[in-house]
Amino acid sequence: MSREDIRELQGRRLHKIVDYVYHNVPFYRNKLQEMDIEPDDIQTIDDIVRLPYTTKQDLRDNYPYGLQAAPQSEIVRVHASSGTTGNPTIVGYTRKDIGVWSECMSRCLTAYGITREDTFSVAYGYGLFTGGLGAHYGVENLGATVVPASTGNTEKHLRLIRDLGITGIACTPSYALHLAETMGKLGIRKEDIKLRIGAFGAEPWTEDMRREIESRLGLQGFNIYGLSEIMGPCVSYECECKHGSHICEDHFFPEIIDPETLQPLPRGQQGELVFTTLTKEGMPLLRYRTRDLCSLMEGECECGRTAVRMTRIVGRSDDMLIIRGINVFPSQIESVILSTQEFEPQYQLIVDRIDNLDRLTVRVELRNEFMTDLLPELAALEHKLADKLKSVLSIRAKVQLLPQGTLERSQGKSKRIIDNRKI
């Protein structure tokens, strides 16, 4: 499609989605009325700058179904992502939404070079997280053979990769490196497997990591980007040029804004990525602030696709951490610690990457009055906190006890998080 045709399509779809949320989501109707905007005021894609932003806080305030536009009878699936302080974010999908998602996912896979002849292993977690099922449906929709490996049980997975001649894989880049490590331990060589294409995402990664994964697994590695609030994996994908990720902008309209002033930034400038869902029925969102920092790239891609490209995510405009592909907000950890009387309301988070797997260490101070002469009691306290954190974060953290008063009391948040991962 030419750029003009894309913009014309986006304009039509934007008008339609604004009209749809205006009549189906009280939250948006109130916002638009406050701003004195009628759906008919929005006719072209340039009018998007008049629309209000949506934030994660809005999703939390309207938990669980407040922003849902379709009646519950039309919702065929829900996914949930972690919230910042307890409430997860619930996203409902209609049958048509699942269809669009699968189609966009198939589009990503096709760009990577996957065809019906491939056997493709999905090694994202299946469940509330969108990674597993999202990729799964895309592979099936394309007609390739899907192996729903999910996460964990790396050795069994590697045997399947070898024995079934699996040619494609979707997982986090750190898990891909973990696979390579485990291969070495099992004595499986690169020549013993047929992997040729990897779709890697759900966490930031670097060109160095790409080179390492590609050489150790003997495949071509491509970026995939997505977020559950907007859809899941499929929002953007790299083509064979591996120079920026093409956005499925017929469904997800991207903008870059200044996270401080909230003003849209010209193309090419770095800022916060914002998406408007142009076709979604279940939970359409207007100008959703992703908090991911990147820029949109100018010019046409050598592959011939006209869809706009986004650069790698270079950071966040909040303090969210991505650990083993899971979003972790320090505020979640803080609320768990505050609800546990044995610990001071001080903490430090240390994120390391050991053997290519992310490790989260939560350092907490034991209150003096809970000091004991019994070592097992201290170990039990560590386990209790680790279990509580696991239930809130969905990942296991190592808890490290410290004597009261050890951690530096600083005003800023910076000292609380030490990310040693160099990504």
Partner: protein
């Protein structure tokens, strides 16, 4: 029973010295000490000449320290006396949680904690074991 001081120690060099120097500067003498450790931290258990003062000093210096009571038995200084004493607890199914020992004034001293304090007290009485208290300990210095 006697007072034992327990101090949380981070697993980094200099922490133990800091404790010992604080006690030294206050003129408090160590009678016995014992450290249990994990990968990341440990507990330093101390029998000192002035346990309450020692605890206050360490707490004021910002350390996690507390006092608790432990059993102290005085044994004759000959082979097998510890075995005979512990046998009394084992026969009654009372577990020893931790134990350390030292010689003081020609006597063997066993410091320990059991998993059933009340029952342990009865056993000591029934078995005629020579239990010592804070004051007895002072006489042995």
């Amino acid at each position: 029973m006697i007072q034992q001081l327990s101090v949380f120690i981070e697993n980094k060099s200099g922490t133990l010295l800091q404790i010992l120097e604080l006690l030294k500067n206050a003129g408090i003498q160590l009678v016995a000490t014992n450290i249990v450790d994990t990968m990341d931290y440990g507990i330093c258990r101390i029998i000192a000449t002035q346990p309450k003062l020692a605890c206050t000093i360490l707490q004021e210096a910002g350390m996690s320290a507390n006092l608790n009571e432990v059993f102290a038995l005085q044994l004759d200084n000959h082979p097998g006396s510890a075995a005979d004493a512990i046998a009394a607890f084992a026969q009654e199914g009372v577990g020893i949680v931790y134990l350390y020992s030292f010689l003081l004034g020609g006597k063997g001293i066993l410091i320990f904690r059991t998993d059933n304090t009340e029952r342990a007290k009865q056993i000591i009485k029934e078995s005629n074991l020579q239990v010592i208290n804070e004051e007895d300990l002072q006489h042995l210095y």
